[in-house]
């Protein structure tokens, strides 16, 4: 097992291995998402409180979950890269940030579209989760801005890793403070998404969507890590052989 991980961390092996598993991730993810979309939109009964508007959670919850997930992946791989100086993990951190930002954006947009029929406004500052997501998006933007401002890849990796770790310490504090802040004033009552009382016909599509989105996210992440690896290793012999034999984009 350890040997396998060690081998995987070597760039050429990762490059070849990831090419094989990306289609599987994408395939399994797509099947799950297609099932979840169909079941969520047409098979699941409508919510007694929210009517059919609750169906938005089938895209909102996976997006919100992945926006947090991407940040953890980013911070953990940044830490690994900083401590053990593994180049591949810096590539993972660099690849996770734009994807995380996209999913955060998606969570924000779907959350606000869900809020329109529920609260009557597109944006409700009283909702702690929407506000947290917005701050999350700012964190991603800061991270990517720092990365873009530093030309040297090695330096950009390390500097942005420090920022990611400082951000990771701050994320729970930010969530806590936003929760506290919104609990102070009596906003519109927030309807719980899901909860334990969710019937099975509603829950299974949601689980399928979360799992499917995770697989698709994995495929997208691996694809971006491949690009990062290729760029970082552009002077290596294996990349030259790969490019000159015309293996093409794989």
């Amino acid at each position: 097992m350890w040997k396998f991980i060690h081998k995987l961390a070597s760039p050429p092996h990762f490059y070849r291995f990831s090419a094989k598993i990306i289609p599987w991730f994408a395939g399994v993810g797509s099947i799950l998402v297609i099932y979840g979309t169909y079941a969520g939109l047409f098979l699941a009964p409508s919510d007694y409180q929210q009517g059919d508007a609750f169906r938005i959670i089938y895209v909102h919850v996976p997006a919100a979950y992945l926006s947090m997930m991407a940040y953890s992946i980013m911070a953990v791989s940044a830490a690994i890269g900083l401590i053990w100086r593994i180049k591949l993990s810096h590539a993972v951190a660099a690849a996770a940030a734009p994807l995380g930002a996209w999913f955060t954006f998606l969570a924000l947009v779907t959350g606000s579209v869900w809020g329109k029929p529920m609260w009557g406004t597109w944006w409700e500052w009283g909702d702690p989760r929407l506000t947290s997501e917005l701050l999350m998006l700012f964190l991603y933007i800061g991270y990517m801005a720092l990365r873009a401002a530093i030309d040297d890849t090695v330096k950009a990796d390390k500097a942005s890793a420090v920022l990611a770790l400082v951000g990771a310490v701050n994320v729970p504090i930010i969530h806590f403070s936003v929760e506290w802040w919104s609990s102070l004033h009596q906003g519109p009552t927030i309807i719980r998404e899901g909860g334990p009382a969710m019937p099975v016909e509603m829950l299974y599509p949601l689980l399928a969507m979360i799992l499917g989105f995770t697989f698709i996210f994995g495929a997208l992440l691996l694809g971006r890590v491949r690009t990062e690896v290729l760029f970082r290793e552009r002077r290596a012999r294996w990349v030259r052989e790969l490019v000159l034999t015309g293996a093409g984009p794989g």
């Binding site: 059919d52 169906r55 869900w114 029929p117 694809g223 490019v243």
Partner: protein, 54 residues
């Protein structure tokens, strides 16, 4: 059939959410592809320039 897509009056909200999700996913896929191909092209251009020089 019509009722199914109307979503009890919430159709516009529900469908726009699923639509924007699809758009974001497509953007992610296309962006990844474009970057990968551009990186490959840059590397091969650099290698070719080096070979003609040497």
């Amino acid at each position: 059939m019509n009722g199914m897509f109307a979503m009890g009056g919430y159709g516009a909200y529900v469908w726009s959410c699923f639509g924007i999700t699809l758009i974001v996913l497509v953007i992610c896929v296309v962006q990844g592809r474009v970057r990968h191909n551009r990186t490959l092209k840059d590397i091969s251009a650099r290698l070719r320039a080096m070979e003609t020089k040497s």
